[in-house]
């Protein structure tokens, strides 16, 4: 390792600068967002049925959909204005302050790394379940997933997201094929919703079950906000990011509704709530080997796409931390040939591998959700501060979201409900995580921050914020 020595502040633009490449278009943004999230339809969302019954899963699908629509709207506005790698991290740095930014970056890295871990475990377990061979463990498949995708990310962002676009599209189309091949317009032939979801079993735990279901309802959409990580690699961020994010959100709402409808009409909620492969099982239950195999492959592809996007996003967030010296600037290196944050990718690889080997799927998902919800809480406050410090008209925004402050208030309230839901299942874990963030914040505020240059952190060409 070489100590990162920089000679004063460089303001020259030309010269031997190595920066990330601006090569992506809106389709890549869509692929990054939907790619990360779509795996949630193949596993994870269905645990909300376990928490509160089949109807609860549908209710949270819609209500959490509202939460994420708010997230997407708010995020589009802020990020089309603060277009820098690190996404919400750069937003926090310009709007709230350095310590917040440090925490947000950690939320991002945790949420994405744990999501990547969940994807790898899911992929490994799916293959093992399919093989049904005695003595076959998931470890080799997990290792291959994480290492191959890290390699792909290492070699360049354009190829990474092209691959993501293709595999996400295939996985998505397979949900649509499944939906239309079970004749969704007639009940009774294949689908038996009214016999499986009856008034007696729709909400087996009553309304507290619905609230508890929020925890896994998050999984329908978790990660859509990751589109912002590509901000520095998109050709025209002010246009592509809102467009790609919104298109992604619409795609996901449709997929979530179709997934719930098919799965709830094919299996009893008690089974739906515990299976790791709701869509694959749905494929099996249709009795068609073609659909079964299609959904098996789609499950693998969705897991791959998600892990791929997560490596991309986690590395960008980690890279940004290094670039501002919040962490040693060693991490901020860009590969001179492939133009990727290669040291961050390599650094996070063994961490992901280690957790994939020791954690189980449920726990990894919970870690990811916890960090996600902490981040959404921040976003609702962030947008309020953004509008106050730079009112409309004071700076150029790529996109302005409507009905402010309603989305922020909705988002904040739903986050509180979700915290309560997490408390019902994983309260002690939430406390442990928060204590960790608290301690590391103290470390940053009182020690690490002394290595950070003050004025340089504010890189946007904006006027002075109001009230300062």
């Amino acid at each position: 390792m070489t100590a990162a020595v920089e000679t004063g502040q460089t303001t020259t633009i030309h010269g031997d600068r190595v920066s990330l490449l601006r090569v992506l278009g809106p389709a890549h943004v869509w692929a990054l967002g939907v790619g990360i999230v779509l795996v949630g339809e193949f596993t994870g969302w269905n645990f909300s049925a376990d928490k509160g019954g089949a109807l609860a899963a549908l209710i949270v699908c819609w209500v959490v959909g509202l939460l994420y629509t708010s997230v997407a709207m708010i995020d589009s506005e802020v990020t089309s204005t603060v277009a820098a790698a690190g996404g919400q991290y750069a937003q926090a740095k310009h709007i709230v302050g350095p310590l917040m930014a440090f925490n947000v970056a950690l939320f991002l890295v945790f949420a994405y790394t744990m999501l990547e871990v969940s994807d790898a475990i899911l992929l490994g377990d799916t293959i093992v379940a399919k093989a049904g061979v005695e003595g076959l463990t998931h470890n080799s498949f997990i290792a291959a997933t994480i290492v191959v995708l890290a390699w792909l990310n290492y070699r360049g962002v354009l190829m990474t997201l092209n691959v993501n676009f293709v595999i996400t599209a295939i996985a998505y189309v397979s949900i649509v094929i499944l939906f239309f091949s079970v004749s969704p317009w007639t009940q009774g032939a294949v689908l038996k919703l009214n016999e499986l979801v009856t008034p007696a079993n729709a909400l087996p735990y009553g309304w507290i079950g619905v609230i508890a279901a929020f925890q896994f309802g998050i999984w329908y959409y978790l990660g859509i906000e990751g589109t912002t990580q590509a901000a520095e690699e998109v050709r025209s961020p002010a246009r592509s990011l809102p467009y790609g994010t919104m298109a992604g959100m619409i795609t996901l709402l449709i997929a979530a509704a179709m997934t719930w409808y098919v799965c709830a009409s094919l299996m009893p909620w008690e089974y739906l709530g515990i299976t790791y492969y709701p869509l694959w099982d749905a494929g099996k239950l249709t009795g068609s080997p073609l659909l079964e195999n299609l959904l098996f492959i789609a499950t693998l592809l969705a897991a791959l796409a998600s892990a791929n996007g997560c490596i991309n996003d986690a590395a960008r967030a980690w890279f940004s931390l290094g670039r501002d010296r919040y962490l040693p600037s060693w991490f901020s290196a860009v590969h001179p040939k492939y133009r990727t944050p290669y040291r961050s990718i390599l650094f996070l690889l063994p961490i992901a591998l280690a957790f994939a080997f020791i954690a189980d799927l449920n726990q990894a998902i919970t870690f990811s959700i916890l960090s996600g919800v902490l981040q959404y809480t921040f976003m609702s406050i962030n947008i309020m501060m953004f509008r106050k410090k730079w009112p409309l008209g004071s700076i150029r925004r790529g996109y302005t979201h409507p009905f402010h402050p309603l989305p922020a208030i909705v988002l904040f309230c739903l986050c509180m409900v979700t915290f309560f839901a997490i408390f019902l299942g994983f309260g002690s874990q939430l406390i442990a995580m928060t204590v960790f963030y608290f301690l590391i914040s103290l470390w940053f505020h009182f020690y690490r921050y002394k290595f950070v240059r003050r004025g340089d952190q504010f890189s946007m060409p904006w006027p002075k914020p109001q009230g300062y």
Binding site: A150, E232, D324, L349
Partner: protein, 53 residues
């Protein structure tokens, strides 16, 4: 068949990990640290800022 696939997966992982380590070493020894860590946030924005002042 599945067992074989499992071994292939280990082999691919090891090979790609080795290649990345090799490339990392090569890059770090070929280029100076200043060059590698020369990326700056908001570079494009910095250009417009310069023009305005």
């Amino acid at each position: 068949m599945w067992m074989g696939l499992s071994y292939v997966c280990w082999a691919i992982s090891a090979a790609l990990a080795a290649w990345m380590l090799y490339d990392w070493f090569k890059v770090d020894t070929t280029y100076s640290e200043e060059t590698l860590t020369s990326s700056r946030e908001g570079e494009l924005e910095a250009v417009s800022e310069k023009h305005r002042i």
